[in-house]
Every structure is written in structure tokens, then in C-alpha cells.
């Protein structure tokens, strides 16, 4: 390698290092880190990452992190709840919920373009958790999603959550559509 080539290589590396450390990149990294913190603290994995049985009992299946109710897991009809104060039942994965609203399946939050949030804009995401409607304008977001709590975050925090969700591995997993009560009862 000639001195000139080495010089160019060094200059290129320096440029890359500088770019990586640029204020914009550092800001993006901080945003993703903040989003990871909020998603962890907010318990998003509780329902959006399926549970699997491990040596110590049920544990989140991080190979399917935040990918929602597993496509291959077809749920039988939810058990009928006897009269009384019991209200809801939940699948063993914590990703399928049955109650007075019907049956809801937790969403795929990964950036997969076909089955996740890959085609969503940051504004779609903010509109959804602020309004409780799909993409801010469609069907209602169902229990147990605590969208009222998430929607109370600041714009900056919601942008951080979205940035983090865009940074995680995309997982192709088509979550079933929710079932309305009439269908769920059949």
C-alpha cells in the first residue's frame, strides 16, 4: 500500500469516525437509548413479546422480541366466564386476551414492512397512542393496551420509543385481526 493510499484510507476512517460522533448521530443514539429505556420500563415486552416456557418457568422469548402474538399459534375459543366478578382471560403467551371487547392479539411492533410497523411514520405512531385508534384514525386500540398511559408521554419520549422500535430486528409475523364479541363467543 502506498503512502498516498494509506493517507486516503486514514482520512476516510477519520471521516467515518467523525460522522459517527457527529451531533446528529449522537442525538439519534441517545434517542434510541432513551426509547429502549422507556420500552423496558413501560412493560411493552410484557404483552408484545410472547412468553415461552424456560427452565425456570415462563420467560419472554427474546428471539421474537416485540413481534406480538405468534402467527402460528391459533387460539381455540376463549373459555366462557361464569357470572361474577371475573372479567378477562389471557393466553399462556400473554399475547391473546379475551374479555367483553372480544379477543385481542398483541401487535407486531418490529419494523417488518408487511406485518409490523415498517411502513408507519413517526406521526402514525404518535397519533395511534394519543387517540387510541389504529394509525390515529382507524379502529379502536383494544384492552389490555394501556394507550392512555403511553399517550401521556411527551412528544420527545414517543419519538424515542418509535426510534427504538425502528432499531430492533424486523420479525415477519402476521398477527391475527381481533375478534368482536359476537364472533369471539361462537
Amino acid at each position: 500500500m502506498t503512502q498516498k493510499t494509506i493517507g486516503i484510507a486514514l482520512a476516510s476512517s477519520a471521516a467515518l469516525i467523525l460522522a459517527a460522533a457527529s451531533p446528529a448521530h449522537a442525538g439519534e443514539s441517545r434517542r434510541v437509548a432513551r426509547g429502549r429505556y422507556l420500552v423496558t420500563l413501560g412493560g411493552c415486552n410484557d404483552c408484545h413479546t410472547p412468553l415461552k416456557m424456560g427452565q425456570n418457568g415462563p420467560e419472554p422469548d427474546m428471539a421474537r422480541m416485540l413481534s406480538g402474538h405468534p402467527q402460528a399459534l391459533e387460539m381455540p375459543a376463549a373459555p366462557a366466564i361464569p357470572p361474577g366478578p371475573w372479567m378477562a382471560t389471557v393466553g399462556a403467551t400473554m399475547t391473546a386476551w379475551s374479555g367483553p371487547w372480544g379477543v385481542s392479539f398483541t401487535a407486531n411492533l418490529t419494523p417488518d414492512p408487511e406485518t409490523g410497523l415498517g411502513k408507519w411514520t413517526e406521526q402514525n405512531f404518535i397519533d395511534t397512542v394519543r387517540s387510541g385508534r389504529h394509525m390515529g384514525r382507524g379502529r379502536q386500540i383494544l384492552p389490555p393496551m394501556p394507550w392512555q398511559n403511553v399517550g401521556a408521554m411527551t412528544d420527545e419520549d414517543l419519538k424515542s420509543v418509535f426510534a427504538y422500535l425502528r432499531s430492533i430486528p424486523a420479525i415477519r409475523n402476521q398477527v391475527p385481526a381481533p375478534l368482536p364479541p359476537a364472533v369471539a363467543a361462537k
Binding site: 412493560g43 410484557d46 404483552c47 412468553l51 424456560g54 425456570n56 418457568g57 415462563p58 420467560e59 419472554p60 402467527q71 372479567m87 378477562a88 389471557v90 400473554m94 386476551w97 374479555g99 367483553p100 371487547w101 372480544g102 408487511e114 411502513k119 408507519w120 411514520t121 406521526q123 402514525n124 397519533d127 387517540s131 387510541g132 385508534r133 389504529h134 394509525m135 390515529g136 384514525r137 382507524g138 379502529r139 379502536q140 383494544l142 384492552p143 389490555p144 393496551m145 394501556p146 394507550w147 392512555q148 398511559n149 402476521q174 391475527p176 385481526a177 381481533p178 375478534l179 368482536p180 364472533v183
Partner: protein, 359 residues
Amino acid sequence: MRGPGSALRAGGAALGALALLCAAGAPGSASAAPAAAPGRLSATGLFADVATHAIARGVLPYSPQYPLWTDGAAKRRWIRLPPGTAIDGSDPDTWRFPVGTRLWKEFSIGGRPVETRFMERGADGRWIYATYLWAPDGREATLAPERGRRAFAESRPGVPYDVPGTADCRACHQGHPSEVLGFTALQLSPDRDPLAPHAAPPEPGSIDLAGLAARRLLRGFPAQRIAHPPRIEAPSPRARAALGYLHGNCASCHNARGPLSDLGFSLEERLAEAGTSAAVLRTAVRRPSVFRPGGAPAVRLVPGDPAASLLLLRMGSRSPYLQMPPLGTHVVDEEAIALLSAFVREDLADPHAIATLYP
């Protein structure tokens, strides 16, 4: 290992969310209306005398030619511009309304007013949304809870009629750059579509596009559009009515300029662009939908085949998780289904029509 705390926390979230859902329809829910919305409809300036429903001077009735389907409720609409002001129509598809503009829409079932929706442009330029619930004696309407009132009335025996919350108002109105949806050049065109479903004939004294121009209430709007009023260009009267219905019922969200523009699905007829109907159909005919019912691919409109067209499937459903529009209706608009089905089956399958509509 997950401890019981996770399940309890999730269960608590479920109950909390459910409680909030239930509270949306609970009588006596706390009212948290926008600060500027008065507590009574009579204080909004609509009436000269609320008891007799006499309308105040300066409040102008109007009637859009492609109205939104609301389960057959009869509707009356009014607008009031602050004295000495005018609408800025320099963008013919996105009129800008002066601060202080007010609009009202009254919904009646069986001849009795049920609710009146209200919008006002505040001093900061943002729109205020509120809904007023009529007392059974029809003498006054009071501010609805912010979350609206589910099953406040019945549109027909056994079918609930929901009063929207302010978030519902925003879900539709803020899907378009102009939050005023029914007061537009196309909707107010004197060249009205005789086949438009559910259009109410303008009541005496109603304002239309020509009237706005004559009274200098609209500035900057292209003069040639006054002389030649807007009209959806289509190869048949049925196609015109079908495209108008989609514009009036769907384009508040499904347009190319709002938050859902990334869906690539626009049903908005725009004046600023020639050949808009073709542009509309390019986003719909034989185009895959982002929504995949049951996880299966689906096509928005299939020429000649209404049953395979997802748009008609969703229009014809009232499953809360499938239906379109997603709110404000519990009853399928059968007249519109018949119109759109014939449009898909015949107009879109006609080589001449398709060549005109969708070159």
C-alpha cells in the same frame, strides 16, 4: 422468570383500559370539554332563540352535495364567519378560514334533534371541537362529555346511535390539511350531482360556491371555477356519483396530503389537479391493500368483481375491527353499496369507461 407482578400489572392495564372504554358511554361522565367550548349550545351563537330554534342573523345554512353517511340521521349545517372577514380560497382544495369561524351540524332522528356538533377556529388558529346533546323537549342542548356518549339514542329500533367524543372528531377532521370537511368548493358547487346518495336539497337561504363569491365571503379562489363550477369528471352519471361518494365519505382520511398519505390510497377529488379521478383510481384499482384481512393479501378494487374488492368488503361490514368508516356508524349504507357495486361491476369493467377513467 416472570413474577406475578407482570401478570398483575398487565391485568391492571386491561382493567384500566376497559374501565376507560366503559366510561366512554357512562351517563354522568366528567365533562372535560375544550376550555373555549360553552356549556350550552345556545351560547355558541347559533340561535336567535333556542327554544324556537330560530337561527341567528349572519349564520348561513349550507348543504354539501356528497354528505357523510351517519346511519340515516337527517342533518342540517350552518357556518358563521366573523363580520368583515372572508375565507382564503387561494388553495382551491384547502380553504383557510378566518379566526372565529364557527360551524354547526345538527343530527336528527325521527324528526327530533339528537346532537349538534360544533367547530370554532380559535385565536391560535387551532380548531375547537365540541358536541351538544339535545334535551328530550328540544329546548336546549348541553355540552357532551369529552369522550362522547355511546348509545345516546337509537338510529332505528335496537340500533345504537353514538355521539362522538372530541378525539373521534379529530380522528376524521385532522386527517386532512383543511379540518373543515364538508364546506369545500366541490361540496358547495352549484353543479350538484343528482345521483349523490343521501344529499339533502339546500334549504332556503343556503350558501353555495356562487353565493360565497357574490357576497365576497371567499377571496383568492380561481374566478374560472366560479364561472365553471367544480364537477367530478366521469364517463357516466353513476361513476360521478360513486367517486363523489368516496370523496365525501373516505377522503378525509384517505388522501395524499394528510397523516395517512403513506398508505398510497387517495380518494380525494382535487380541483388543483387535472384528471383527479384517474389519480384516485390509480391508487385503488388492482392495488394491494395495506390491510390484510386474516393475514391474506387483498386488492382494493377489482374491476368487474365487487365481491373481491376489499373496499366494498369493508364498507359492507360493521364488525368494529373491519368496518369502514371505522367510527360514527353501526348500519351499512346499502344504497352506497349498491352504487359502488354497480360502479365496480360495470363502469370499471367497461373498456371505454376504464379508458376514460383510468387511462
